[in-house]
């Protein structure tokens, strides 16, 4: 990297600064990285590393026109109760100008338990929508044209099963798989690292994901079969550099697996997408997104030999940081979310979810969700930040931070451990995250880092915040829905599809997707499919590190 000379007068400034008083503060990023008093052209990378939007290495954005061409997709994550309640919420969001749908599933659905399993008690429809089978998926999207709207589904361990329900639901509404546009998260490595919703041991889970990616690459050209996610890694307490490195390493691992299966990198890499957190340290976040784009482009081109420029593009969704929201003085969270969302936009995100101010207390109310969406609309239409491409490009500070975050040593360390799958099995990223989160908490507890309303400026927390109450009767409603389908379905095809699935699961060379589609068509439930696979593969138990 070519570093320039400091500007004229820099020495004099340094002298003047030295004799000026300095605030009693740590001057570090949220991730603990030191920040200098001043950045100058001496900190600026050479122009080639910065480049131009829509051109390698894409530091300034993946498209030549960015938001001058089209604004980011405003995509609010939603889901609670049964498919009926969430379908209503989806239509409400579409009516209020939202441009894509994003499905939150409840915990039993994420873990592969049916709503009537004893493990699901008290959790059905609580943190997302309960989807047990094809019939629920059809209700979820009733009255919504799946050929028109782009749908994101945040589900991982049982992603292939949910995708099968979605494809069959669309097929029965007259929309073939090749017209479906959207994303399924399906990033299984980050489950073991951070989100911790799993069904199977790591190796068969990786195989199931590989089967799905391979099937999608030939059958669903408009679909993103995996959204490689740093969001949950950051929520679990990682630093920005850890979020970046662990996420990219997960991504490279999926690329390597697809290559091992004989796929051409240019056949699937353009369909890989990413999902990052937007934390409260504004410039550190912007630098993170810019560094991520540059590293991905370089590795795809140089290490994995991708020739199609579309394969080099890191497109990503951003969500503001749930972990930054405070239960104290919750209205302040609107401000936090606005700043975080602005970082996502100035970092060049393709889509954005803004959290609602009441989410440190419960799932959001409709009013709180509307304010969160309005926050994005204010950024888009009032602030003027979308008038020019990458307005911070060339900022001495942002470019220097981008270089710093790119240069972190995590990549080499993971390689040393034998790659990401091995590193996860050895709990390396898990331990790094636990250490980072503990350190940050200590800074907050000791008052070295101020959080407004929590450890400083604490007066003024008297007002009651209206909260969304999930009706406990919805759990029984979902159990009744599930049992009604079980009672009226034909058990022959259910048994046949599960037997065929088990046989295929035992044979690693077979692709499981056609079997999962058969199971979906037979109205087999998610829990039945997961249990069938567990009889072949077993389940997973973590050895926790803290």
């Amino acid at each position: 990297m070519l570093l320039r000379q400091p500007p004229a007068g820099e020495k004099e400034w340094r002298g003047a600064y030295k004799v000026s008083p300095e605030r009693d503060a740590s001057f570090t990023t949220l991730s603990g990285e030191p920040v200098k008093a001043l950045y100058t052209e001496a900190d600026l990378a050479d122009a080639e590393r910065i480049g131009l939007p829509g051109a390698y290495p894409f530091t300034r954005g993946v498209y030549p026109s960015m938001y001058r061409g089209r604004l980011w997709t405003m995509r609010q994550f939603a889901g609670f109760g049964t498919a009926e309640e969430t379908n209503e919420r989806f239509r409400y969001l579409l009516d209020h100008g939202q441009t894509g749908l994003s499905t939150a599933f409840d915990m039993p659905s994420l873990m592969g338990h049916d709503s009537d399993s004893p493990r699901s008690l008290g959790e059905v429809g609580r943190e997302g929508v309960a989807i047990d089978m094809l019939d629920d998926m059809e209700t979820l999207f009733q009255g919504i044209d799946l050929g028109e709207v782009s749908v994101s589904m945040t589900i991982n361990a049982p992603a292939a099963i949910m995708l099968a329900y979605y494809v069959v639901a669309a097929e029965r509404s007259g929309v073939p798989a090749d017209r479906l546009g959207g994303t399924i998260q399906a990033d299984i490595l980050k489950e073991y690292i951070a989100q911790k919703e799993w069904c199977f041991p790591i190796d068969p889970a990786m195989r199931l994901l590989g089967d799905m990616i391979e099937w999608c690459s030939s059958q669903m050209p408009r679909w993103h079969p995996v959204s490689i996610s740093g969001y949950h890694i950051r929520e679990a307490g990682s630093t920005a550099a850890q979020e970046l490195a662990f996420t990219l390493k997960d991504g490279f691992t999926y690329v390597e697996q697809a290559l091992e299966r004989g796929l051409d990198v240019d056949d699937f890499a353009p369909r890989l997408s990413f999902f990052f957190n937007a934390q409260i340290d504004f410039f550190e976040e912007i630098a993170k997104y810019r560094a991520a784009r540059r590293i991905w482009a370089r590795e795809l081109k140089e290490t994995y030999g991708a020739k199609d420029p579309k394969s080099w593009l890191m497109r990503f969704h951003t969500q503001t940081a749930g972990v930054s929201l405070t239960a104290q003085q919750p209205l302040n969270n609107i401000t936090r979310t606005a700043i975080e969302a602005l970082a996502g936009v100035l970092g060049g995100t393709q889509s954005l979810h803004t959290n609602s101010y009441d989410e440190a207390l419960a799932l959001p109310t409709e009013d709180a969700v509307r304010i969160a969406l309005r926050t994005q609309q204010i950024i888009a239409h009032e602030t003027g930040v979308a008038n020019t491409i990458d307005p911070l490009g060339g900022s001495y500070f942002v470019e220097a931070l981008t270089d710093e975050i790119e240069a972190h040593a995590y990549f080499a360390k993971i390689d040393e451990l034998g790659g990401m799958v091995q590193a996860v099995k050895q709990a390396y990223p898990q331990r790094e995250i636990a250490d980072a989160s503990y350190q940050l908490q200590q800074e907050i507890d000791s008052g070295r880092r101020l959080v407004v309303g929590v450890n400083s400026y604490t007066e003024g927390d008297g007002d009651e915040t209206p909260l969304l109450h999930i009706d406990p009767a919805l759990e029984q409603k979902q159990i009744d829905r599930l049992r009604a389908v079980r009672a009226r379905r034909d058990s022959g095809p259910v048994e046949a599809s599960l037997s065929a699935l088990k046989a295929a699961a035992a044979e690693p060379r077979l692709n499981l997707m056609p079997h999962l589609l058969d199971a979906a068509r037979a109205h087999t439930s998610e829990g039945e499919v997961v249990q069938a696979l567990q009889t072949v593969w077993g389940d997973y138990r973590e050895t926790p590190v803290f």
């Binding site: 493990r119 008290g122 959790e123 609580r126 239960a327 419960a362 503990y438 926790p544 803290f546």
Partner: protein, 151 residues
């Protein structure tokens, strides 16, 4: 039993004397949510404060947690729940403990718990409910003051 038993720090606290044993606390994650940042931070802070900490790991059923409490002869339990299922899972754990005749375990709960539910949980016998923003020191101080040291 699936609990991961972790060696406690050798430091002792001011609350323990030469005759009293160190406080034994189980940090447990009932239910299906995978949000373990808080539970792990608290487990580590309690360990650093000189307590013997047993962290159950994720996705525990009420039955598994009660079994761990009995097997570990715990003085206290910290239940971490961020799935909204606290009004189902906590009463179930309390009932199971009563059914086993266990009445000397201090029960604390942490997570995203709305105000109304805090009062309801305290009526059921939860000693303290912690919501986001609590410092680890507050929790340490409470456990140290509320647990009656056993010989």
């Amino acid at each position: 039993m699936g609990a991961e038993i972790t060696a406690a720090s050798s430091r002792s606290t001011s609350a323990t004397s030469a005759t009293a044993r160190r406080i034994r606390i189980v940090v447990a994650k009932p239910g299906l949510d995978g949000h373990d940042r808080g539970a792990k931070i608290i487990a580590r802070a309690l360990r650093d404060a000189g307590m013997e900490v047993i962290y159950t790991g994720l996705h525990q059923t009420p039955e598994q947690i009660v079994e761990t409490l009995i097997q570990e002869d715990a003085d206290a339990v910290g239940l971490s729940i961020l799935s909204g299922a606290h009004m189902t899972l906590v009463p179930r754990i309390i009932d199971l403990l009563k059914g086993q005749g266990v009445d000397n375990v201090l029960i604390t709960v942490g997570g995203t718990i709305p105000q109304d539910d805090i009062a309801a949980l305290e009526r059921l016998g939860v000693a303290k409910v912690y919501t986001p923003g609590t410092t680890t020191q507050e929790i340490i101080d409470f456990i140290e003051s509320a647990v009656i040291p056993r010989a």
